[in-house]
Symmetry: C2
Subunit: 613 residues, 2 copies
């Protein structure tokens, strides 16, 4: 292995046999797919796109990238890649904190789990060595109780723990991993895959000192890093203490998105809400904020730690995020920010995706209101929401239905149209009728509805890198492709997506070149991103998503008009999807063989047959 | 239309628009696919194999055959064909009674429903005319209450009603249709398809007098019929009052199957049970029998009407069948035949498949015993079983999980190995370890696990038409093919499967020739059966069942040894499946194009492309 930034050591854990092996990182793959998300997807593809997500055949990849654990700004990200039990697509889910950096400091780049243990286990990592240990006494414990148990056992210093809660153990299809205090790899059900495998946690003991990854070209890397930090410190959204992410966290968006009429309200029956201000960043900072926290190597510190000091919603939680607050707030008709904080905390304790959980509640509320289910759940009824959240995590009673996720649950009731989801994953907090491009992003995202695959909102709302008309459909196919490709790269380098508000492809290219020693230009960055996005799409095509109908939006968005300052608008998928396929060079959502060959995803063998590389 | 036996009139109901139209029967199709099951499958294929079962796109076909309503013995069968919401395959489900005959007497061969109504409706048929009428006041009613309401409205004379209960309304994936008193088209979830479409019932008013179908060659038909009746009256299993079906009903099998060690007990954890005798035909006749009932034109009268005269299980029900008694009995650890009768009655009232319901209970019992779910349900706990049955029908609490069927429910718990099912449909009362051929039949059945696709038990247990060794694997591929093809024909002629205990292909050929006027030999019967079986397989291949892995048995049957007089035996799928594919001329479960062309299912166009005929 000749690439800087890599420790060149992967751990292979066979949970069935209990064996732990090591191998170098595949250098050819790493050059092509960068690391993190891209490399993880390649491993999952090699494992076969037809495996059952909740089966011994699925693999679970814990991935870092070439700059993880380095001094690169916002490089404290870890990526979990697997076949999703929620969507049936390949999925990758990211978490901040220090776990990623500590894994690298412990001398390990990636961990690949296969098989299924016959009793609960955790993987303990220290000094480049990994060992499976018994977790029987931790099974059934919440995420924080699990973290505390490991702190008691191994000492809190230099320790990172990523763990599943009861939701993962019970194979709730949108269970995730939690680490540090309240950082989540939330989406796509990676925690259910771990729960199925009886893998409770990964525990890492490692210090930065003497263990940071080495840059191949140290001077070039240092210079690149300095330039990137400057961009972040100068950036409108990322600059510390200037009113953006650093001050209000992601929740800076609530009032803004509500004002333009793009805040999905009560299961997207409206797109604005009078009450939304009560769970906005401004409100929370005034009433509940107690601390601003950060991740490894990040000057932005977007975390908003809140505390409800008394009353029945007494809690302290670090992740009062925009999406979480919206899913349990406007989306569910709840404006009490204290109750929202309590619900977020509960999701964190059980280890569940707040977005998907919010949709579980809102589809039930709408279905109950319309007489389609008997399960009484009223809009904004906090105490019933709390009780149902508990039932979902434990698959108790009706909770067992919702534990399948809103798309499957509504299908069970014969009312799939109530689920605001794509490929089984529910939409986040931007209504496709008020922001056209992001709707196309939901529809074509390779992991189901998601804002993080291609965050056109940056352009459509914040004017980054340049403003576009949020209500215009034309041009959004091209815009989306740029965002999707760029973020595919940053996710694979494993650098925080928020860096893209201030950094650009050139910043990434320079840091990557300096660290790995592989010359890279801004164009190379976009090409690698395109390769990774097509790799995922190829996986999904092979997994059965091979028609334009798979890239759909729920009818509500294309047929029922928006409200507020987007009044009457509907999503113009009809215009955007064709343009997007055209820009991508895809046919009805399928990557043609020539494209796969052109991007180096498969090889055209002499015989004319195609083979995977 | 030049075929005898047909009224040459089909009703096309578009539930979306509310329109009712009529068309002649497609004569070319009818010649090729006979009627009933075969013709219905062809209609469902033409509608597209990729439709969602619970969607407006699926169609629901109510089919009769060329001898329905005639004097042919056991010709009182009606067949419901659709894409199954339980299995995702094409499915056909049959019911006895008089509904089929009355439909024909009303001047109609078949009914095809498409679309989805916007309010509950029923279809009223009289004198060759059909009309959609409002069923809003019947929605929520049980099957018997619905039948009674129609009797009150239209008079009981000459009236047949086939209806769904609450289970169908709530889209329970194994809801069926009920008609007459307790006759069920139970398997595959046809009632859920109707429930989704807001179709409550089909009501037919018609008398036999002057309306029987006309035979093309009356003398030939009369002779053929006489010969068939003689075979039935002489047959060991079908002869009236000689100890077989006529005396004990299907439940004649309980003690026999238990004795050989092939009675799946407590979710197939054993294959015999000391207590099974208490729900056997012999026991029931001694303790609970009150009447023997029959269907149109049947001398066998296999129905066993039982009454529990007092106590908390007080009930009267006509269908104390072997499969039902076993599913709720040995399979669930319950030996109290009064409680079993009560549970059967409950399933009939709600309109649910007793076999699938029994598995819902038994998988929960095993999962609870093993600590995989918290829902307390103990083996043989009748009162909890009754309560859970009610919850399933109404999708209440944990019942909403089980309403998805045992295969989906156990997958939700991450324990799919607990579900004794194939393609999502649960096995009936013969353990594949004690009777090898029927296991192959479950695995390769085109509608998921089923004994009725190819009842090799006739040979392996009763020696009909000739005895084979039940524990031998060799030769079962060929044996099964014969049964599958023969029963595909009788199901398409819509004559009761039990006729095959005494009638053979020649009997069927003669009746068919006499009735329709199309010359037919015993060989033609087998070829038509093969064509229909391959037509279904072709549908399933197109619907995504295109690998040998789809034709599997649960691991319990291939890895855990049987008990009792089959002690230690495991299913030898490894031997049988290859032999079967070989006999069928299939490749890994897929019908090759040449085979489809050879059987006339598709045409080879000049261009080399294949087109459907």
């Amino acid at each position: 292995m000749n690439l800087g930034g890599f420790k060149n050591k992967e751990v292979l854990v066979d949970l069935t046999s209990g064996s732990v092996d090591y191998r170098p990182v595949n250098e050819e793959y790493a050059k092509k797919f960068i690391g993190g998300r891209g490399l993880g997807v390649k491993y999952v593809l090699d494992n076969g796109p037809e495996v059952e997500p909740l089966s011994e055949d699925n693999i679970l990849c814990i991935m870092t990238g070439p700059v993880t654990g380095s001094r690169s700004s916002m490089s404290g990200r870890l990526c979990v890649v697997t076949k999703s039990p929620l969507t049936g697509t390949v999925t990758d889910s990211h978490m901040g904190g220090w776990t990623a950096a500590r894994l690298k400091w412990a001398g390990i780049d990636n961990i690949i789990f296969k098989g299924k243990s016959d009793k609960p286990v955790y993987l303990y990592i220290e000094n480049g060595q990994a060992e499976l240990r018994d977790a029987s006494d931790l099974w059934g414990k919440s995420t924080r109780a699990t973290v505390q148990a490991f702190k008691d056992k191994y000492g809190a210093d230099d320790l990172s723990v990523m763990t599943i809660g009861q939701a993962g153990e019970n194979k709730v299809r949108f269970a995730g991993f939690m680490n540090e205090h309240d950082r989540a790899a939330g989406r796509g059900g990676t925690g259910a895959v771990a729960g199925f495998k009886l893998l409770k946690a990964i525990v890492i003991k490692a210090t930065q000192k003497g263990n940071m990854p080495e840059a191949k070209n140290a001077d070039e890397y240092k210079e690149a890093n300095k330039k990137a930090v400057k961009a972040i410190l100068d950036g409108g959204l990322t600059a510390p203490n200037k009113g953006g992410l650093s001050v209000y966290g992601t929740n800076v968006l609530t009032n803004l998105i509500n004002e333009v009429g793009a805040l999905p309200t009560m299961n997207s029956q409206a797109t604005n809400w009078d009450e939304a201000e009560k769970h906005s960043g401004e409100w929370v900072n005034e009433h509940l904020l107690v601390a601003n926290n950060t991740c490894h190597a990040c000057p932005v510190a977007c975390k908003i730690e809140v505390e409800v000091k008394e009353g029945k919603y007494k809690t302290r939680v670090e992740s009062f995020e925009f999406e979480s607050a919206w899913a349990l707030g406007a989306n569910s008709g709840l404006s009490n920010s204290e109750a929202i904080a309590y619900l977020i905390d509960l999701c964190n304790e059980y280890g569940m995706d707040t977005i998907e959980l919010g949709h579980c509640l809102s589809v039930t509320m709408e279905a109950f209101e319309k007489g389609l289910v008997d399960e009484k759940l009223d809009w904004g009824d906090a105490d019933s929401m709390i009780e149902m959240t508990r039932k979902i995590a434990h698959r108790e009673g009706f909770g067992g239905v919702l534990a399948e996720g809103p798309a499957r649950a509504t299908a069970m009731w014969g009312a799939p149209e109530l689920s605001m989801s794509v490929k089984g994953q529910s939409i986040p907090a931007y209504d496709p009728r008020g922001i056209q491009g992001i709707g196309l992003g939901y529809a074509t995202s390779n992991r189901g509805a998601c804002h993080l695959r291609g965050y056109t909102v940056a352009s459509e709302i914040a004017g980054i890198p340049e403003p576009t008309d949020r209500l215009a459909a034309e041009g959004k196919g091209e815009l989306l492709k740029v965002f999707q490709d760029l973020l595919s790269f940053s996710d694979s380098m494993n650098i925080c997506k928020f860096s893209s508000f201030s950094e650009n492809a050139e910043h990434y290219a320079e840091q990557y070149s300096g660290m790995t020693g592989i010359p890279m230009t801004a164009e190379d960055v976009m090409l690698a991103g395109e390769r990774i996005y097509n790799l995922e799409r190829y996986y999904n095509n092979l997994a059965g998503f091979d028609k334009a109908e798979d890239d759909f939006l729920p009818k509500r968005f294309t047929e029922e008009g928006a409200t507020g300052n987007s009044a009457g608008s509907v999503s113009r998928m009809d215009i955007m999807l064709d343009e997007y396929y055209n820009v991508r060079g895809w046919k009805d959502g399928v990557v043609p063989t020539e494209k796969l060959v052109e991007l180096g995803i498969i090889e055209k063998a002499d015989s004319g047959e195609t083979v995977e590389q």
